[in-house]
Symmetry: D2
Subunit: 358 residues, 4 copies
């Protein structure tokens, strides 16, 4: 395929400032794939890292963010037979160094050489260039073929779905018949509702305050939505579970009191899966956690190859995230895309950028 030497990319030039530039198109190494980006979705971590650089982030003027993307294979490295030119693909963000003790045990999203590119670590969109560009290079481990039935816009949410699956695998992965509460109807929360149902959860409850998102939650499969502005969620879960509490509570709101509430509404011996990061330190009463033998689990990224499982779930039709992609913009309008996402303009849930659109 004819790859141009220069490509269009959104380069982060200073805090919260993207500049659309012509830069060199990257070349794939022996274990890499060159992807022509069709869609790159805006993630709340993008919002955070363009405001203030994260650990390992390249300097202003050199860095192209964006870690949630999908597109077409344009070129493959010399050892690659897993993909061929033209394949429709989506990606995950984290390539570990593959040599530290965490990577060796399969925990590559918790790589101990995070940001050390010399040793092989890459996290496209975090420590190496990402998808707000026409082309991007990915290590073979981070690329997944997607079915024709899946649009690039929806497929760009792969890391989201992979992350939620990784979360459920982290807490045991077997939740048939369990009561699952999801706090916070943001993208990860809404996906958690779908995944919980797909894994056979008994009853799935969604707690939030924004009526429009709660409605999406109901459409997407929640058995009961609870508007915390209208009723006490703790009492509601207590009543729904016969006073026992939920087997699993997924806290994805990042609200300051949400973790405390999540702990309280978890059953004895139950598990809290923490997906939302509070911006400030939170005040936490730990007595109930200890007295009732509960645990708090977190996940970084989309580990243990759960993106492969995610693609399978999508292919089977058991999850459908179309309704989450509410807005799309050309690459030139990336700033509008970010504003739409952060300000939730027009009921925005996930906002995507389409670098291939001109």
């Amino acid at each position: 395929m004819n790859v141009p030497e220069k490509m269009k990319a959104a380069v982060l030039t200073s805090p919260n400032t993207f500049e659309i530039q012509k830069v060199n198109t990257p070349n794939p190494g022996p274990t890499d794939v060159l992807i022509g980006v069709e869609t790159c979705a805006v993630c709340s971590s993008d919002v955070s890292l363009i405001a203030k650089p994260w650990v390992g982030q390249p300097p202003y003027g050199e860095f192209i963010p964006g870690h949630e993307y999908a597109g077409r294979v344009i070129e493959v490295g010399e050892t690659i037979d897993e993909f061929k030119v033209g394949d429709r693909v989506a990606v995950e963000a984290h390539l570990g160094c593959l040599r530290c003790i965490n990577c060796r045990r399969g925990n590559y999203t918790a790589c101990l050489n995070y940001g050390n590119t010399k040793k092989g670590h890459r996290a496209n969109g975090f420590t190496t260039n990402g998808g707000y560009a026409q082309y991007v290079v990915n290590h073979v481990n981070t690329v997944h073929r997607i079915p024709d039935s899946l649009s690039f816009d929806e497929a760009s949410l792969l890391t989201n779905l992979g992350c939620v699956l990784y979360g459920f695998e982290t807490i045991g992965g077997y939740i048939v018949g369990d009561h699952v509460v999801v706090v916070g109807p943001g993208p990860l929360g809404l996906i958690s509702v779908q995944v919980a149902k797909a894994l056979g959860a008994g009853r799935v409850y969604l707690i939030g305050t924004r009526e429009s998102r709660l409605k999406v939650g109901g459409d997407i499969g929640a058995d009961l939505v609870i508007n915390a502005n209208e009723e006490d969620p703790l009492k509601a879960i207590h009543d729904e579970t016969g006073g026992i509490g939920a087997d699993v509570v997924v806290e994805s709101s990042g609200g300051s009191g949400a973790l405390q509430m999540a702990i309280q509404m978890t059953k004895r011996m139950g598990k809290v899966l923490l997906l939302g990061v509070p911006h400030e330190p939170v005040l936490l009463d730990l007595e109930n956690l200890l007295q009732e033998n509960k645990s708090i689990h977190t996940v970084r990224g989309e580990g243990w190859a759960n993106c492969a499982r995610a693609v399978s779930l999508w292919s089977s039709g058991k999850v459908n995230l179309k309704s989450l992609v509410t807005h799309s913009f050309p690459l030139d309008e990336i700033s509008e895309a970010f504003e739409t996402f952060t300000e939730r303009i027009g009921g925005a849930i996930k906002v995507v950028v389409n670098p291939s659109r001109d």
Copy 2:
């Protein structure tokens, strides 16, 4: 409720011989429930134990077999508030002693005091009286309320569904996107197909020889059925999985060469779940098992409270075992029921007896 002093029961009086007798209706103890049996299904272990008594089985003339049953709560013991008279319920077979080290760790179907009724162990239909009778007493741990949408005939298969779920939990419980092969389209095999799909398996393959049962397997959700009389199953799975093999192979046929085949078609690091018991010792080449880091798992009964999960799965409509119950008989015709089951008369899969029918 008015409980008669005498009830009708099928008493095992000698090998393979049932006698319909009038016997004393049992009384529930403080932690028990008295159930009026609507349906009791014939299991292949029934066929085995009526031919030759199993360990811990009561003597001829005193024993009422039958461990797969459903019915209505007639009376409850003095500590029971989990159930009330009139509840529609189904049961599991194994009540552990609740005091041995296995029971204390939750492994009650592997109770170390199996058959020791003095110490509290009961396995209705194996070591204590079961469901081929109008009434039966069950410890509260072994009783599950069922939804109105579920017929007693279907609900009598609770232990089957619980056993398969226990099997999947035993091998990790998290199979999203995995390739699963099921060998043998008997009741447990067909249920395994449904459970694998309900847990999010990627592709489910069913291998058998009986065309009528393979058809049921396709209807019930298998992505591909393979008739071993027509093609080489090992080659078929090899081709379907790109030469890699299946993540999980459920062997439920009990065929003499089936375990060897199951091992060969399992992926490196994959798992074999053995649900079928070969009647004779089998010849096994273990080299591949070791070279490729595979494991063989078994389950006894329906452990780890998986019957509760089973009821949830049923309630959600994700499994539907109606088509497996092919024949039903009144209690008086229990011998015909067994014959229909063992001879597979009329394409019999599961055959049930209805003690309440007169």
Copy 3:
């Protein structure tokens, strides 16, 4: 054996007030053992519950606390063949109801019928009478035979050792070569040091402020003790682990900043085992927990039959808790015992009461 009708017991008559009374000696039921108490140790939960009653606690004037005890079998219930009169035994506190979903899955210390004696739950010293008495009745599940090599005073710490083992099993149980930090050299912390070494941990670090207890920690097996008054523990662990952090951090101090410190010094993907309860809500920055894929685990009591494992470890000589029992008192001086424990008079670590001593 000749059991007197009346026995001496320390009855809790009002907040923080014990009265030594003559009360009826209890009778063992069919699944119980009557124990003649030789030693009952003071636990910090005793201090808490005599000040303000815990959930499910019997009323003042009727309740005999004490849950850490050892003694001799005096009488056995009619189904008991696990023990015989004269056996030297120690106990665990929690008997679940054995019928709720948690108990059925082996999680009896998280029984959903906690405090419901009608349904079978007992927690001697919490919801039913305990060991600050000459005699006490225990269900067979909660009794363990101890070797002659083990004194009653040391054996009274069984629940402590069982609890720590349960904690290590909860976080995976396999820590060969791992770096383990223990925060807080109280009884559970010091036992954690020994258990970590006994399970093959690579390096065990103990952090505290009280020089005398840190010295015990060194004697008992810690590879390095860190006095937080003299150096920055976070920096020390950072340096010792090459900047990576510890695989496991056991927080047993209950200090207000301790959990935050524990999280910070844990490796990516590492685990915090929380054994100490802060008295007040703590302020917690969760960002590092999420960014680095860490988890927080707690344990209630001495679950999963770990007391049986504890006795084995003691018998092998791999743990030795003699040095933790620093003071003993006759039952009549129980108030002095509590004062010695809470005020840490004479460097008290564990303080015991000997009801058999007169």
Copy 4:
């Protein structure tokens, strides 16, 4: 360091025939380490693969076997800061491709690209050159620094110790207080005895027929050795465990009836760890396995980075394998070394070759 262009190596030139040749010294790539081999131990898989090539093995005349070795770092690749020249090291054999789904999940000894060097897989001594030479190149993932207290001869057994640890981790890793039976006092069996003790097993039984090796087993820590020529091992274990059976049975003899015996002597719900490969298919009665809910686990190689744990265990003095290395030879006498090993001349257990000795 001055590395000669040519080195001495034992090249496999035809079945069972080594030729000592001068060949090119290999060069380390960017992620590699060049090791000067001090000791390379003979393994029974060497005996098998020199007789008949294994899958992926290089052709006669080009292949240097040997996968159990230790030595000194001579040169490091450009990205290496984990090691420096002069470090004393030992190795593991398996480097996965690091890109297949098994490798990504940490299961690199079960790499799906086994033998595919283009994709990055290497297994020194199996599919790439090994340690029967003066120098060898290892990927950084497969190299471990060893303490000065450990001789090269003992350290060459690293994969053995790593394999046994991997086996114990595979069956859960937490065996405190458990009864463990080891069948077969070969190298892996004897190491299993030590590892079981180091992990806190309650009682460890060793079964064999060769008195001299059983004696080593007793010296190395077995609580009881059982000579199968003198007593019935099944009865012995039955009696020792009060009729319950062992929690874990490690079968490392490869004997034709050994797996059947191992199954029978395992407790209900217990686990068989199969380390020995029978040369011929074995006849197996599976009924007990199923009725009693047992499982059979195997391991390939020394996975999940257990070699790092192995080095820690060695450093702590908790295992000591010195007595297993019974014979050593210079490289020139490699054929004598193999003969000594296979014929067990002079009571040989492990036989090593020392390429640095002249």
